[in-house]
Amino acid sequence: MYDGGKIITGLIIGVILLTFPIWYNLGAAPPEPDIKLPVKTKKCVAPKDYMREKHMQVLDLWRDSVVRTAKRIYVADDGRTFNMSLQNTCMSAECHAKKSEFCDQCHTYTDVDPYCWDCHIPPKEKK
């Protein structure tokens, strides 16, 4: 090999950079999201699988509806009606009362930082 020293050094640097996730995670057992579902309420505004994937779109729709057309009543697919409100409906005492035990679990896990809390105030939690 010609200029072997330099080329091997470059290769090693390249391999180290490319395998970054492998050695970065070494030894650290990743904490998986541990969602605490509400005890009192059993049914969300939409089925669980739908909410898992598309809750942000529901909230987006709610926001636009309330802010732009002042319509606050949401009619779910099964006919139930809800007051469109993040703080008073989603995060009411009966449902997802604790942001840290619900929202943050997956958001932290997948490094998502939604800007809901730029305007909204999450419910106070006792430590």
């Binding site: 995670n25 990743p30 942000m56 490094d111 930082d113």
Partner: protein, 344 residues
């Protein structure tokens, strides 16, 4: 090869790959497509890249190839300023500068010129930056998108991943926040593809090996954008899968959509295809002999490494062997007998 045929071959290839991923998903081959193929692709990519680089390293470059556009270092009264030092370096520092500008800023594309007809019969060469602009947008966006994907492969996420996400989603449009880099990446690939198709000279030199990677990347970008903004997937399950891959504890969550498997399979194909295609310029750019060697042909003696071993017989050894006979025959010698004996 005819452009239509090239497009058909590349298109069918990418379409076929999508079909394979869909069939795999329908047949519930989640372990194969979610675990086995990603590992195989990663192994092919790493070993393939190492093989290619080592192979290049074994090729001798006995003589500098000064494909330069600048004055080489010469007599002290010939002007040799910083532009020449970068373009036609004779020192290692200059080579580092040239390589840095090449790798980071794509300087050789930046210098691209285009011949144009002026008034009458005159021709002129004008700067043409579109290729450079498309290339730099493409490469940097791809790099940012790839770095952003580390959020699926690390836990907790390193600070720079979060930082890049913040900057990338700076405008806070749409929900989930639109990342500029992903959209720009799609635009840049489309631009590079259109450039290839619309400029006759470039189209003439394009082959399936050029169209296939473009189609592949376009499909990867498209499936990624669709997954994030339109059809949605279960990101938490996906992270369990990806994190399991890098932690070597693979597990396959059940409820992941077909779009993710299409995306993942095409990325695997891209990685496995990488070392054997033109895409390998990722490693090759560092080993371009016209870029990474100083132009010191006249300063340093370069010995050809494949010169055969030649048995030499110097005049001194010859005379030592035949000195007495030469003296006896009356031939002139450089050294007398006595002095050579003392030396030997």
């Amino acid at each position: 090869m005819n452009v239509i045929l090239s497009l058909i071959i590349s298109g069918v290839a990418v379409f076929g790959l999508v079909a394979i991923a869909v069939i795999g998903w329908l047949a519930n081959l989640h372990v194969l497509f979610g675990v086995v193929i990603p590992y195989v692709a990663a192994a092919i990519f790493l070993l393939g890249m190492i093989y290619r680089v080592v192979d290049w390293g074994k090729s001798p470059v006995p003589f500098r190839i000064p494909s330069t556009c600048s004055q080489q270092k010469s007599l002290p009264w010939i002007k040799y300023d910083y532009v020449d030092k970068l373009d036609n370096p004779h020192s290692k520092l200059g080579v580092w500068g040239r390589m840095f500008l090449e790798v980071v800023f794509f300087r050789s594309l930046f210098r691209n010129t285009r011949m144009q007809f002026g008034n009458g019969e005159s021709i002129r060469y004008t700067s043409s930056k579109w290729l450079w602009l498309g290339a730099i947008a493409f490469h940097y966006c791809f790099f940012i998108v790839l770095t952003r994907h580390l959020r699926f492969f690390t836990q907790p996420q390193p600070f720079f991943v979060t930082m890049i996400e913040k900057i990338d989603g700076f405008f806070q449009i749409w929900l989930p926040t639109a990342y500029q880099s992903g959209l720009l990446l799609g635009a840049a690939v489309t631009f590079l593809l259109l450039r290839r198709l619309l400029i006759a000279q470039v189209r003439y030199v394009s082959l399936p090996a050029d169209y296939f990677p473009l189609f592949l990347i376009l499909t990867v970008v498209g499936s990624g954008i669709l997954m994030r903004y339109v059809f949605k997937t279960d990101v938490v399950s996906i992270k369990e899968l990806t994190l399991g891959l890098v932690n070597f504890h693979p597990k396959v969550p059940e409820n992941i959509g077909v779009l993710f498997y299409i995306h993942l399979f095409l990325v695997c194909v891209l990685f496995a295809y990488f070392p054997f295609s033109k895409l390998v310029h990722m490693g090759g750019v560092f080993l371009s002999p016209t870029r990474n060697l100083p132009n010191d042909n006249r300063v340093v003696r370069h010995i050809n490494p494949w010169n055969p071993e030649v048995k030499i017989h110097t005049y001194e050894a010859y005379e030592n062997e035949f000195r007495e006979k030469m003296i006896a025959a009356g031939l002139p010698v450089e050294k007398k007998v006595a002095s050579t004996e003392s030396k030997e």
